[in-house]
């Protein structure tokens, strides 16, 4: 089994270094913490330190020391799909979709659940909790069950039916909350501070956050360590975006890749606090938001991770963009029809944002562009087509087939 090369928790604000352990904030300045690894060793070994398949192939750059705590449902190792037909439609040279639907619970959340619940085991907790719009809830519940831990899942009242069914089936305790994520997360964070459960939320826990870094490692490895010029990642609170950016930076610092991609932060127009601040050149003003079809992006107050996203965008010359709900739904259909990839609205918001940025000439279409599609379409709730069926005999069936297939 691969050794974890995690060395410390470092404050992203004051730079103070803390020993590894379950800490949700810097003890000096209350800033967010990030994990740091033995970069010298990573530089010396190169990718030969990787072994096995799926997420835990990257165990060296994940913070779970004991292999017995590396809980798994087979997450990671998702496809990076070259999409020439869609690229032509959008007028770009090369378009890659990092499709995270084929994860055990159908979303990118399984990456952070593996390390989040792994950390709960590592630090001896018996119960996890999360405030979720649906995807994180399903995933934390599933991984907690897999690890033999209790889970207390707070789910958004407007989560889709497949998400609610999924959470109800896998968790030991489901609580539906009124309002949106922002209305509950502050209270919940205080209980996490009190140690009532292990924090599997998106706002602070560096261990949980860390699993998503494997998106960057997989993209890099799948492109033979020559990553794309641009990576478009979704932003609600910012976990996926930050983790992906950090993964690329880490690989660059260890000399595994020659340069980091330009990162694009994609938000729903109905929950666009970071995009607004980025454009205005200001800090973030929290928004009072309602529903967006991209349920997983429905956060109006991204908190301190939002500030971190903004800092990364500014430091690394990134971009931020948004898409309206109707554009997101159109992108969902387009991706399904042209490439057979059925992503959920939360997942394809990135593609809708890319389409807008291309229309606005904010991106060079001759670059290699990678879009993270973070969610399967199977969690979509919408009116299905009519079930009014037709009874066929052989003659009527032949007539229909000839009509439809143009013979």
């Amino acid at each position: 089994m691969t050794e974890s090369l995690a060395q410390s928790l470092t404050c992203i604000d004051c730079g103070a270094t803390h020993a590894l352990g379950y800490r949700l904030a810097c003890e000096k300045c209350s800033g967010l913490l990030e994990l740091r690894y033995d970069l010298g060793r990573l530089a010396r070994t190169g990718p030969t330190v990787l072994s096995g398949t799926g997420l835990w192939r990257y165990a060296a750059v994940l913070p779970i020391a004991d292999p017995a705590h590396r809980v798994s449902l087979g997450e990671g190792g998702t496809p990076l799909l070259d999409c020439p037909r869609l690229a032509r439609e959008l007028g770009v040279r090369t378009l890659l979709i990092k499709y995270d639907g084929p994860n055990p619970t159908g979303t990118v959340k399984d990456r952070s659940s593996a390390t989040g619940v792994g950390a709960a085991l590592q630090f001896g907790y018996r119960a996890t909790s999360v405030v979720s719009s649906g995807n994180a809830g399903s995933s934390i519940a599933a991984y907690s069950a897999r690890a033999g831990l209790r889970s207390l899942i707070f789910a958004y009242e407007r989560a889709s039916a497949p998400k609610l069914l999924h959470m109800a089936a896998t968790t030991s305790d489901l609580v539906i909350y009124q309002g949106v994520y922002d209305d509950l997360i502050g209270h919940w964070d205080r209980l996490a501070d009190a140690g009532l459960f292990f924090d599997c939320g998106a706002s602070r826990n560096a261990y949980k956050h860390e699993g998503k870094k494997t998106i960057a490692y997989e993209i890099a490895e799948q492109t033979s360590w020559s990553p794309p010029d641009v990576v478009v990642a979704p932003v609600a609170v910012g976990e996926t975006f930050i983790a992906t950016a950090r993964g690329f930076r880490e690989m660059r610092e260890a000399g595994w890749i020659p340069r980091v991609p330009t990162m694009v932060a994609a938000q729903a127009a109905r929950a666009n606090a970071i995009v607004r601040a980025f454009r205005a050149g200001t800090s973030i003003t929290p928004l009072k938001i309602g529903y967006t079809v991209a349920e997983g992006l429905a956060a109006g107050d991204p908190g301190r991770k939002g500030d971190w996203v903004l800092r990364l965008l500014r430091e690394q010359a990134g971009l931020a963009g948004e898409a309206e709900d109707d554009e997101i739904v159109a992108a969902q259909r387009r991706l399904a029809r042209t490439e057979g990839i059925w992503g959920g609205p939360t997942g394809v918001a990135t593609l809708a944002v890319l389409e807008r940025l291309l229309r606005d000439r904010a991106l060079d279409p001759d670059q290699t562009i990678c879009v993270v599609v973070s969610e399967t379409g199977l969690k979509t709730e919408a009116e299905p087509p009519s079930r009014a069926g037709v009874a066929f005999d052989e003659a009527s069936l032949r007539t229909l087939v000839e009509e439809r297939l143009g013979r």
Copy 2:
């Protein structure tokens, strides 16, 4: 790219050998055809002939010659999960779940769609078709879109909402049929014979069937070429079961594995034609069936593949078992709660059948048992929990958490 070692199409009834090509039946006796490979070469190379990841890692033992025709959405490479907690509950020593939910469209069908649509390209067709209860339809539609082909999908009127949405999004033509699979398939088969479309159905096309063989190859490789004693596979028409059994036999003949597992055929009690014939020691009497919650197993007349399943069971001392709808739903919940694996009713029917066979002492609990769970739970349609949400302040939230987590 790995060379395909496919050599011929051989009749399973009369043994006649045909050159590779798009043939749906033996030209001598109208029997079903199966693909045969260069076993001598497989024996000499051993597993070193494998390369890459996912389904096409096994391209040597798949019948698609030109790498340009190896259509992919990232299928295969699904987890084989050791489930000690569930094993304890069921009283077996070792229980492995081969979980095929993390495929691009959420089911085992993606394996056969990759080779089926690949074969459509190989043989120059522009349109595919399938009669489906929902999973094959979504999958063939998705792979056809990915390959730039048209698809004409016939979908069961009682398919779940997530399946209908998925098919409608990915296919160029969706037709809902009245009745069950059996009512349409005979007519449709005649149109396939007439060449109106490429046959992506389960009843005859050896090329399409073949992709599912990779389940066996993956299970063998994931157990370091010492496969489990018993493999429980679902049977509607029999494609998954036959392909898995053939995969193990092929590896045995090539000397890759020391022995083949005992195969268990799992059916829904409401569509149990093969189980009845197996028990009675007779040939199959087609059944008039209604709805079963295991939608993908809703076939009362498995046709000639049913006979093939029966022959394999009798030749290789296999077993057949069935489960009622309520047992299937109970198995679905049990698997979700104990191991965090959310399978659909079609997918977990195998587990329900295993539970029954263990109760009946028809299986030795000291053996290593592998259950194929062929479908994600995200395609399940059921009443979601109430969305009546609660608004919290910090005090009421703390009270709830303390109550629920027993502090």
